[in-house]
Amino acid sequence: MRRYLVLRALQALGVVAFITTLSFMVVHLAPGDPIGSSLQGPNVTEAIRQHWRAEYGLDRPVSEQYVRWVRLVAHGDLGFSFSQRRPVRDVFADAIPRTLLLSGMALLLSFAFGIAVGVLQAEQPNGSRDRWLGRVLLLLYSVPDFWLALMVLLLFSLRLRLFPPGGLHDAVLYDYMTPPQQLLDSLKHLVLPVLTLTVLSSAVVARHQRGELVSVLSSDWMRTALAKGLSWRAAVRRHAFRNALLPTITIFFANIAVFASGSIFVEKVFSWPGMGYVTVTAVAARDYPLVTAGVLFMSVIVVTGALVADLVMAAADPRIRLR
């Protein structure tokens, strides 16, 4: 087990290194000049732009920039954001908790919801309830994520005015509220993005959960147990559930990229200044260090997700280690 763990972790590191290099090159070899966005106007001479390029090392060969960057990253320094004019580390320190909050809540809810639906479906595979729920799930699974976010915003915020249109919390009053008011205000701002993200991912969870449950319930040992008079409820609760939940969680983590992509659109539409939003904004500003670090971060998340999924599977099923 330890050997597998070490190998798998090394491999994950390799993957991160590969993606990092790739993203660094994709960003830095792109045509165009990152200096300029903040330095336009006829009063800016070429000499000034050149000065700034030199300041950020952009006038050096890409290979040299790469080596410098890797060295910095190895020391935990992600560089300096051109567009925000502060260290990328600070930008991330603000954005990561926000993304974790939004995604974490959406994840919890979508697992709760998705698993409940999955169990309802698996009770009678291919029964009418299963089929109808399946269709609804498939429909939700087919909704364009950005479109759903737009529609939710349009309906619940712009039309019905039930919830604020976006942002973390009230732009002004938040800091002056009492803690319970603050909590309420934050929750109000969380509702729509969390709702959207939950709808999007609970469809995925439910589809997996139903499948896993059906497969466990149709296994020989379970059939035997049921034949021996174990009630369906008890079977699900005591055996099937546990056996089906693990693979569902695993599959979900293995595909965390799906979730990450969905959250990019949701963050964008609801002005939620998390990682997805920060990175997409940085792309528009050609903020090379921030874009590169953003892609690095996303990749690390995805790789970690896959790693966790594999380790969980390995812990659960010793045969996998032999693979």
């Binding site: 479109w147 737009l150 990450a260």
Partner: protein
């Protein structure tokens, strides 16, 4: 696998008919767009009087801010959206199957190298990757976008195909063929490919739905088609600024995307169930969304 059983199951499955029906409708609409579209899709009919008009008898789905007929744009847009999806998936399937078969059949170091590559590719967040490339590398047209999408869509297939090829490789009939001195090329084409084609088709059908969603999202971000051309996502983008008062620009193309993706996914599910009846649940890998949209 008994082909008759599969056909029978498919014919009985309502999802197949719904999926095929919708896709056939979309395909006919796309193919006959020049005949049935009431207006030219990029004609700015009247930029003052007809800009952003709500649905009416003359313009069933309204007009966009440039005074163009939304129905006509959606009909022509379906050509772009569907072509990108089909082309990207076709490319991804071909390449993915190739890699999967090679890795699975030959195994050993070839397999290790290829699969590590696939692992790495899996870890790239596809949406972010395409946004970064498209935004920084500038003028990304339809062809480039298709290639970009294909480049993030192939590895799911190859992983799946490899797994299948691996089992086929050790099957008795392949052993026998090898013992009889059949060349690797013939074994692959005669025995391995036919056996991996089923899962590959299931995956591609599901992938088309996902790619349609991805393309729409990217067009919505302004990546892909260039004006005056339209795709479903770009129509939404043209209307995004006016979403609150010109809802038809967001609603109708969104529904078209939703219905098409739904049809592909329904068909994909049905195919999967039919091809692998023992497994009522999705195969682990082929239900993995290939693309995150």
């Amino acid at each position: 696998m008994p082909a008759i059983g599969v056909r029978h199951r498919l014919l009985r499955d309502r999802r197949v008919w719904i999926g095929l029906g919708v896709l056939a409708f979309m395909a006919v609409a796309a193919l006959t767009a020049p005949l049935i579209a009431p207006y030219k899709p990029d004609a700015q009919l009247d930029i003052v009087q007809l800009a952003g008009q709500a649905p009416s008898s003359a313009h069933w789905l309204g007009t966009d801010p440039f005074g163009r007929d939304v129905l006509s744009r959606m009909l022509f847009g379906s050509r772009v959206s569907l072509t990108i999806a089909l082309a990207a998936v076709a490319m991804a399937m071909t390449f993915g199957t190739l890699v999967g078969v090679i890795a699975g059949y030959f195994g050993g170091p070839v397999d290790s190298v290829l699969m590590r590559l696939v692992d790495a590719a899996f870890s790239i967040p596809p949406l972010l990757y395409i946004i970064v490339v498209a935004a920084l590398w500038g003028d990304v047209g339809i062809v480039a976008l298709t290639l970009l999408i294909a480049s993030v869509a192939w590895f799911g297939v190859s992983r799946l195909v490899r797994a299948k090829a691996l089992t086929v490789r050790d099957a008795d009939f392949v052993m026998a063929a090898r013992a009889l001195g059949m060349s690797s090329w013939r074994i692959v084409t005669r025995h391995v490919l036919p056996n991996v084609v089923g899962p590959a088709i299931v995956t591609s059908t599901l992938a088309i739905g996902n790619v349609i969603l991805l393309e729409a999202g990217l067009s919505y971000l302004g990546i892909g088609v260039r004006p005056p051309q339209a795709s479903w996502g770009s129509i939404i983008q043209d209307g995004a600024e006016r979403m609150s008062d010109q809802w038809w620009l967001t609603l109708f193309p969104g529904l078209a995307i939703l219905v098409t993706a739904f049809a592909c996914n329904a068909l994909g599910d049905a195919l999967r169930d039919a091809l692998d009846p023992r497994q009522l649940q999705p195969l682990r890998d082929d239900d993995t969304p290939l693309i995150t949209a």
